[in-house]
């Protein structure tokens, strides 16, 4: 009996708490709603769109984005309210806004601080006659696993949907906190009649904010007073056209956009500790990070630091002709010792074959970020009395370094001042010295000058080196042999990638086992199975690992086969491939592989006793420009200058001659690039040589017609045919 009463009491208590909780939540929801949809909302009756947008799918009557940063008690609070009022003009738009999915708020702990996330969604449907239907989100939504979903009722073509997302995060007890940076274009999927941005802060929140590419400037609309420390900043835009993202385009460089980041530092003490680009005082909005500020921030950040025991052992008894060679060899050594050496272990662990990490000693060195690596490598340089400087750059899609605003847009490059300078940027399994990220090439950057190989004492502007289209070359040879009855073609292809072209290819083709064993042999380290001393265990792991490798290799082959089939858009059979060279040691070291497969008669047409070969179709992956693309109005932003050399060899079957060689000759070259092709007979082989090249990584729109000229020439080549004529 007692037990039952107790149960009831607990049940009652729980119910009261949950009712109270839900009442509180409902009140909060009402409060949030009133923040957006209230009597003062200037957009509450806006219904009409301008005539020129009648043929759009939908139009934002208004889009407002509001960020609020404040500090209740000891906590700090972040709020984002995004409100969109959209007129849905067609079925596609209705479908787009027919369902919403979101994750509800939760409470969790991050670095000992309690973090409370709250999320609210509010939705109204407004009928063309002005009738407003407010959707009861609590009632209408359903929960699937951790996600909430709602199907928006009453929604039809011609309606307006007016909704907001409210996101709130309260972090307890914090003296220093940097929020994630925000980078956005003003434009969206649909045109926007009115865009409004608001940023509200108070004391101790430091703001970096700027707008770009013709976007309006941020204005302070509320000044703090003695009583109320609130500051409000805003900008608005009107009649913003729909975003369009063409090929070869960097939106943040061309489209009106804004970037910002907010940092909270409770007092002057924490301001200094922030190690971030922040304005001098809380009343100023920082719009730009200067060279001097970069110097001041990084002056102390890159003190050389690292345990060099392994490197010293590696260098012992080795002689290098130059420091350049030494630097490169040490880089490769580190790449193995602190990276590729462990790859097998992670694979073994992931596949649940064994727990491998105890086989590698107690304190393996792992680099957690770019700065860790730079500090380690500079420790080696310092120890070996080799001069260096540290370059601070930014990728091209962020804009020029002089417009830098966000630390997250920075990349570090180590420039080692050996006989010929050595640039080191990446640290991964394929990274090699002097291979800069393509998007940093030829950009302006700052270099932090280091004296005594230790102290950063100065900063200067530099231009990062660039590569040429000739260096970034890929060569592709395709040799065709017909089946005796012309029912199919056997194709051998070989590839050689150089310069920047190899980076993506290596990542897409190679698997770890294609290079890890090469590294183990080179640096005399033990592959994982050799580290297992117990014979029985070793045998077991060996079998399981062999099975895993077989599966991985099958998957790799299938993936590459599919990729090739996709290039030709044909079914391919009897596929095999072979890696010839990994290209992991030096910028000049090429990545090479070959593949062999057969296709059916898709490219062969019968013409009486003769055959027509769609030879142009063997030049795969060409750009087909639509009419819209041909009339492009944006500038052209590509990754890097590049050239492609193709060779197509057709083994002419006995008893046949070839006509139509003249269809294979082409020659377009201008200052943006070119496409050249020629064909000649070499005994019973038809050899077609093709060159295609993009001379620059950027072209102004005025030069687009020149690019179109050679792109069209290449595209036209894909239509070329030759006749195999029965002799």
């Amino acid at each position: 009996m007692t037990k039952n009463i107790l149960c009831i009491a607990i049940f009652a208590l729980c119910s009261i708490t949950s009712i109270a909780q839900s009442k509180k939540e409902t009140e909060k929801q009402e409060q949030v709603k009133n923040l957006v949809w209230n009597e003062n909302d200037p957009y509450r009756n806006v219904m009409e769109i301008s005539e020129n947008w009648k043929n759009e799918s939908a139009v934002f009557l208004v889009k407002t984005v509001k960020y609020i940063y404040n500090r209740p008690g000891n906590s700090i609070e972040y709020t984002k309210i995004e409100r969109e009022r959209i007129k849905l003009l067609d079925q596609a738009a209705v479908t787009e806004y027919s369902e919403f999915a979101y994750t509800e708020g939760k409470v969790f702990y991050r670095e000992m601080s309690r973090v409370t996330n709250t999320f609210h969604l509010g939705v109204k449907v407004i009928k063309p006659d002005g009738e407003e239907i407010e959707i009861d989100v609590n009632q209408e939504s359903v929960t699937t696993n951790n996600e909430k979903k709602i199907a928006i009722p009453s929604l039809e073509k011609g309606d307006i949907i007016d909704y907001y997302f409210y996101t709130n995060t309260i972090v307890g007890e914090n003296d220093l906190y940097q929020y994630e940076p925000v980078e956005n274009t003003i434009g969206d999927n649909y045109p926007i009649a009115k865009f409004e941005f608001l940023l509200e802060t108070e004391d101790d929140f430091f703001i970096n904010f700027s707008t770009y590419n013709g976007a309006p400037k941020l204005q302070q609309i509320v000044e703090p007073t003695k009583k109320d420390k609130k500051r409000v900043y805003s900008f608005t835009a009107e009649n913003v056209e729909r975003n369009d993202f063409p090929r070869w385009f960097f939106p943040l460089v061309e489209l009106p956009s804004y970037k910002f980041q907010v940092l909270f530092a409770r007092s002057g003490k924490y301001e200094k500790k922030a190690y971030a680009f922040i304005p001098e005082d809380v009343n100023t909005v920082k719009t730009n990070v200067s060279k001097e500020e970069i110097f001041n921030l990084y002056e102390d950040k890159f003190r050389p630091y690292g345990e060099l025991g392994d490197v010293e052992r590696f260098l012992k008894n080795k002689n290098f002709a130059t420091n350049e060679e030494k630097v490169k060899e040490v880089f490769y050594y580190i790449r193995h010792a602190y990276y590729t050496n462990y790859v097998e272990a992670f694979v073994m662990d992931e596949a649940n074959i064994m727990y491998p990490f105890m086989l590698y000693g107690k304190n393996p060195i792992i680099f957690n970020n770019e700065v860790d690596f730079v500090r380690f490598f500079t420790a080696f340089l310092k120890d070996n009395k080799i001069d260096y400087e540290i370059i601070v750059g930014t990728q091209r899609y962020n804009g020029d370094i002089k417009d830098l605003l966000l630390e997250s847009n920075i990349n570090f490059i180590l420039k080692v001042n050996t006989e010929k300078p050595v640039y080191i940027e990446f640290f991964d399994a394929y990274a090699t010295p002097n291979q800069l990220s393509p998007l940093l090439e030829n950009t302006n950057a700052y270099t932090l000058k280091v004296v005594d190989r230790k102290h950063i004492e100065n900063i200067e502007t530099v231009k990062l080196p660039t590569t040429t289209y000739k260096e970034n070359n890929s060569t592709e040879k395709t040799e065709l042999t017909f089946a005796p009855d012309f029912s199919g073609i056997d194709i051998n292809r070989s590839f050689e990638y150089n310069g920047q072209t190899k980076i993506d290819e290596q990542k897409s083709i190679l698997m770890y086992y294609d290079y890890v064993y090469e590294d183990h042999a080179k640096y005399e380290t033990e592959p994982i199975l050799d580290r297992v001393k117990n014979k029985r265990d070793q045998e077991k792991y060996k079998n399981e690992y062999a099975a895993l490798l077989k599966k991985l290799k099958n998957n790799q082959q299938e993936k590459i086969k599919e990729r090739t089939a996709g290039e030709y858009n044909l079914k391919i059979d009897n596929y095999s491939f072979k890696i010839i060279k990994n290209g992991r040691f030096g910028k000049e070291d090429s990545f090479e592989y070959t593949e062999n497969f057969t296709i059916g008669n898709d490219l062969i047409k019968t013409a009486g006793k003769n055959y027509i070969l769609d030879i142009g179709k063997l030049l795969v992956s060409q750009v087909d420009l639509s009419n819209k693309e041909k009339n492009r109005t944006n500038n052209i932003y590509m990754s890097y200058p590049r050239s492609f050399n193709y060779q197509i060899v057709v083994n002419i079957p006995d008893g046949y001659s070839v006509s139509g060689l003249e269809n294979l000759a082409g020659n377009v070259e201008n200052e943006t690039g070119g496409f050249k092709s020629s064909a000649a007979l070499d005994g019973n082989r038809l050899v077609v040589k093709i060159q295609k090249f993009y001379k620059n990584n950027y072209e102004p729109n005025a030069k687009w017609p020149q690019m179109v000229a050679f792109l069209e020439a290449a595209s036209q080549f894909t239509q070329a045919k030759i006749l195999l004529k029965k002799v």
Binding site: S57, K362, N601, K605, T606, S659, N663
Partner: protein, 638 residues
């Protein structure tokens, strides 16, 4: 530099490597042989048993079902990683989900339990229990066990013999107590050696019925296949009645019992058609005749009610009330059928709810079971005829029926009784699509006017896709479609009929320039006449199931080429004329004056290519490919 102390992680090492269960050399050889037999499968179920018992739940007064599953799984590939899973829903539960090594020691895998989302449903009560299981080497085995409890026997409708893996030995045992009247229908047993034994067990006072079969292929993962109820052997379980405490209770003894249950759900609804009044008046006010009133209501539902389905418990069987669907502007098939019914009643028609199984389901209402139907439409009694209205269809004209419901038996509500009818089957001509290209040679191009027409389901498909495109992209998309996304095709002067009209024939006219279709070599002209090459790639080589088309396709195409002066055709390809029960493929070349007429007709009469026809079909397609592959050669006239 931060150092990671791996020591901290060592503690977990001890829990992982408990796998003293490697395959024996015999098992490895067995796996290798099985891999030869099943080259496309990674796992084989050496044994798979279902042991089904029935009980009575006094609390709910329901007959319950317990299905115990046990499997012996062997990896026949090098290494295999799977998610061993089992589905359940609001009417069932999974207990005892677990795996063991070959030495019978428990294998610890983290068992997850999640809502299972099905694309078709916005929300449903389906759940999945699963574990990620790795088979590290060839020949590796696990024993899997799970028990699924189904709370109410009416939801236990079938047991399939097949699985997603091949099965060497399959056994299904049902212990049917004498108090339960159960009919077991043996479906699709032809072609399988399934043996059955029945023994009476005194102790349990039950028949123990055991089916065994060996050597089952994995279920086929092929697109456009018939539904599983046509393909795989299975037991259809018909729970007819039971006796409890001396009293007899009917379950689904005959179709009327199934109807009665459906009817009880409908009687439970609280429709409020007054909400529809104004809309119905608006839709019917200007109608010229009664048929137009039906049409206007039916089309309004198609265009304005979005298909959003909630399959949650009884909501899977009971329609949402008309006022809710109307206000929400969305619903599932039942909600739309009921809204259609209520709006038509409001407009003065006799309209009824109608249950059916779509083409995917092999059964009809001679089988009283919940597995018979999966769809609901509305039947309107008009002019002495019964006309079926399916609100889930888009751009479906009044009186035309989608392939998926044609020929299917329907159960129409009729007070306490019901009416069985069959949805009419339409002739393939209804879906006729025609292409005419009147072409001339202009340098390396074919140039001329094209006219296209679409009817029936070819029109509905076109309209649906087109009207769901973003407005600003519609023109571009239409051009792209007419060009078949080919850089050689230039399309201009596009003129269309009203692309929102679902009743009249749809037509599109445009001028086409097809570059690179003509090549000249050594005074001869080679013409690649047919860019479209319909059905040219449709060879069924490794297919195990019939191929079902979305509808009975009927395509008639004509290319009329004006020959340039001074040239003649050196040789014309042979045509094709295959006309059988299932399909017609006709190709013809005719020279008349200076015109080459190239005609094609493809008619998929039953919307299917039967597996038994594959050989003949493939031969026809090979002839077709050979025609498509041939260039028309023009030589100079002597």
């Amino acid at each position: 530099m931060r150092k990671i102390l791996c020591l901290l992680l060592f503690a977990t090492a001890l829990c992982v490597a408990q796998k003293n269960s490697d395959p024996t050399p015999e098992e490895i050889s067995e796996a290798k042989i099985l891999k030869l037999q099943y080259p496309n499968d990674d796992l084989v179920l050496m044994k798979s048993k279902d042991f089904v018992t029935f009980g009575f739940n006094d609390k709910d007064q329901q007959v319950s079902v317990q299905r115990q599953i046990s499997e012996e799984m062997m990896n026949v590939s090098s290494r295999t990683d799977i998610q061993k899973h089992i589905f359940y829903d609001g009417q069932s539960e999974i207990v005892n989900f677990g795996l063991k090594y070959r030495n019978n020691k428990s294998a610890f895998f983290k068992i997850k339990d999640e809502a299972f989302t099905i694309e078709e449903f916005f929300y449903n009560d389906a759940r999945v229990k699963y574990a990620s299981v790795d088979f590290p080497v060839q020949g590796y085995k696990y024993f899997f066990e799970a028990t699924k409890n189904i709370f109410d026997i009416k939801y236990f409708t079938s047991v399939y013999f097949t699985d997603s893996y091949p099965i060497l030995n399959r056994e299904i045992t049902l212990v049917v107590p004498k108090w339960l009247n159960l009919e077991i229908k043996e479906m699709n047993f032809d072609g399988y050696e399934i043996s059955k034994t029945t023994n009476f067990d005194d102790k349990q006072n039950a028949d123990i019925i055991t089916y065994t079969v060996s050597g089952l292929d994995a279920v086929y993962k092929e697109e456009q296949s018939p539904g599983p109820s046509y393909l795989y052997p299975h037991l259809l379980i018909l729970a007819k009645s039971y006796t409890h405490d001396g009293k007899s209770f009917t379950l689904f003894n005959e179709t009327k019992d199934l109807y009665s249950w459906y009817k009880s759900l409908i009687d439970d609804m609280n429709d409020d058609p007054s909400v529809l009044k104004a809309k119905v008046e608006e839709l019917t006010a200007n109608a010229q005749n009664e048929e137009e009133k039906i049409r206007n209501i039916y089309y309004w539902i198609q265009d304005n009610i979005r298909y959003i389905a909630f399959e949650d418990g009884l909501a899977g069987f009971k329609p949402d009330e008309c006022q809710n669907v109307y206000k929400k502007r969305y619903g599932d098939c039942k909600g739309m059928a009921n809204l259609t019914k209520q709006m038509l009643i409001e407009a003065g028609f006799d309209a009824r709810l109608t249950w059916l199984g779509t083409k995917r389901i092999a059964y009809d209402y001679s089988t009283p079971s919940l597995s018979v139907d999966n769809h609901m439409i509305c039947t309107v009694f008009y002019n002495g005829k019964k006309i079926f209205l399916d609100g889930t269809e888009k751009f479906n004209p009044f009186g035309e029926y989608a392939e998926r419901i044609q020929g299917k038996q329907v159960m129409i509500e009729n007070g306490d009784s019901f009416i069985l009818e069959t949805v009419p089957v339409v002739a393939p001509e209804t879906n006729r699509e025609t292409h005419v290209f009147n072409a001339k040679i202009n340098n390396n191009a074919l140039e001329g006017n094209v006219s296209l027409t679409y009817s029936g389901e070819s029109r509905a498909t076109f309209l649906y896709v087109f009207n769901n495109l973003r407005t600003e992209m519609k023109n571009e998309a239409l051009e792209y479609y007419l060009k078949r996304a080919d850089r050689n095709m230039m399309v201009e002067n596009i003129k269309t009929s009203n692309l929102e009209n679902r009743d009249d024939q749809l037509s599109i006219n445009f001028s086409l320039k097809q570059d690179n279709a003509v090549s000249s070599f050594d005074d001869e002209i080679y013409i690649n006449l047919d860019h479209y090459q319909e059905y040219g790639k449709w060879i069924f080589n490794e297919r195990n199931t019939d191929y079902e088309f979305p509808h009975k396709e009927f395509l008639s195409s004509e290319i009329n080429l004006e020959l340039p002066e001074g040239y003649k055709v050196s040789e014309l390809p042979q045509g094709i004329d295959v006309n059988n029960k299932n399909y017609k493929i006709f190709i013809d070349f005719e020279l008349k004056d200076n015109m080459l007429h190239y005609r094609k007709e493809f008619v998929m009469k039953q919307a299917v290519v039967k597996k038994s026809n594959f050989k003949e079909w493939n031969e026809t397609i090979q002839s077709l490919q050979s025609i498509y592959n041939q260039q028309i050669i023009l030589v100079k006239e002597d």
